[in-house]
Amino acid sequence: MSTVVLVLVVVTALAFDFTNGFHDTGNAMAASIATGALRPKVAVALSGLLNLAGAFLSLSVAATIANGLVETHLVTLTVVFAGLAGGILWNLATWVLGIPSSSSHALIGGVVGAAIAANGFHAVQWHGVVAKVIIPAVMSPALAILVAGLGTWGVYRLTRGVDDGQRRRGFRYGQIGTSSLLSLAHGSNDAQKTMGVITLALIANGTLHPGAQAPTWVIASCAVAISLGTYAGGWRIIRTMGHGLVEVDSPQGFAAEASSAATILLSTHFGYSLSTTHVVTGSILGTGVGRRGALVRWRVARRMVIAWLVTLPTAALVGVGAYALASSLGDDIGVLVDFVLLTVALVGLYVRSRRAPVTAMNVNDEWDEPATKNGEPRHPVPLAA
C-alpha cells in the first residue's frame, strides 16, 4: 500500500467527520434555534466550540468502530476507504433532502458493505450488527418518545397558570443548558468514531501496531473537523428538526433536549452506543405527542423513518461499489479513481443544494406542509414561532 492511499483515506475520514458535524448540528441545536433560545449563528458557534471540547475529552480512543461488526483483521485500507465513501455520500444526500439520519449508521453500512465486497459475507459479524446496531436503533427512538412525552406533559402540567411569556423565557434559559450538554456529548461520542477509523487505517497500513491508541494528531484533527462541520451548520436538517416534525415551543424544546441528553448519556454509560439522531428525533416527536394541541407532521416523520431503514443498505451498496471498482483497477489507482468520483458526486450534490439554499437567515421560515393537531387544542397554537 502506498502512502498516497493512506493520505486519501485520512483526508476522506476527516471529510466524513466534517459531514458528521454539520449533519448533527441540528441534534443539539435545532430546538433551541426554533424556539429562539439562541440566535442561529450563536447556536452553531456554541455547538462547534463544545463539540471541540467534547472531542478532546475522549482520551482513550481505540480502533473500535468496526469492533464486533466486521472481522477487523480482514480490514484493509481500501475497505476503510470504500466504507467512508458510502458514509459520506449518504450523509450529503440526506443533507440535501433535509433528512436527519444517523451518521454512525451511514459509516457502519459503508464499512460492512466494503467488507462483504472484499471477503464475502463471513467478513461480517452479523450477530454484532443486529445486537449492537439494529436492535438499539429500533428501541432508542421509542424510549426517547416515551421520556420526552412524559417530560413534556409534566413540564406543562407543573407550569399551568404561569404567565406564557415568563414560562417561555424561563425554559429558553434551560434550553441553553440542555443543548450545550448535548453538544458536548456529541463531540465526545461522534468524533471518536472518525478517530477510530483513522486509527484503524493506520493499523491496516502497518503504521501503528494492532491495539494502539489514537495518536495526538488524529485526535486533534478529528476534533477540529467535527467542530468546523458543526459550525457550518446543517441548516436544512436544523429546519426539519425544529419546524418540520413538530412546531416546538421552549418548554417542549427543553423537555426534548433533556430527554435526549439523559437517554444518550445513560445508554452510553450502560454500554450501548446509540445514534444521537435517532434519540433526538424520537424526543422531538415525543414532545409533540406529550402536549395537547401540539402540531405534528407525521408525514415528515414517516419520510425520516424510511430514510433510516435504507441508511444501512444504501451506504453498504456504495461501499460494495467503491470497493469493487477500486480493487478491479488495482488498489492504488483504484482508490484514486474512487476518490475523484466521490469528489465529483459530492460537488454535484452541493451544487444541487444551492438551488434552494437554507441558511441562518431562513432556517425559521414557515413550513409549507400541513400539520396534524394533537388532541383538542386548548389554546390556539401559532404556526410560525
Partner: protein, 76 residues
C-alpha cells in the same frame, strides 16, 4: 435471547432515563413556577419561600448536569 439483547440493562436504561430525562425537567418546571409565584417574603428577608424553593430546584438540576459532564469527562 440474552445474547441479542441485555434485558436487565435495557430495563435499567428505561427506568433511569425516565427518572432523569423526565424528572429533571419537572424539577426545572417547579423552579419556574416558584419564581413566577407571588408569595409573601420570609420574615426578615426580601425573598419569598417559593423563590427559595425555586432556587433549590435549579440547584439540584445544575448538580445533576454537573454529574453528567463529570461522566463525559471520566469517559463513562
Amino acid at each position: 435471547m440474552d445474547s441479542w439483547i441485555n434485558l436487565s440493562a435495557v430495563w435499567r436504561i428505561v427506568v433511569v432515563s425516565l427518572l432523569v430525562g423526565a424528572g429533571l425537567p419537572a424539577l426545572f418546571a417547579l423552579g419556574i413556577r416558584g419564581l413566577a409565584a407571588e408569595g409573601r417574603p420570609v420574615p426578615g428577608t426580601s425573598v419569598s419561600r417559593a423563590t427559595v424553593l425555586a432556587f433549590a430546584c435549579f440547584a439540584i438540576v445544575l448538580a445533576a448536569v454537573g454529574c453528567g459532564i463529570a461522566a463525559i469527562v471520566a469517559g463513562l
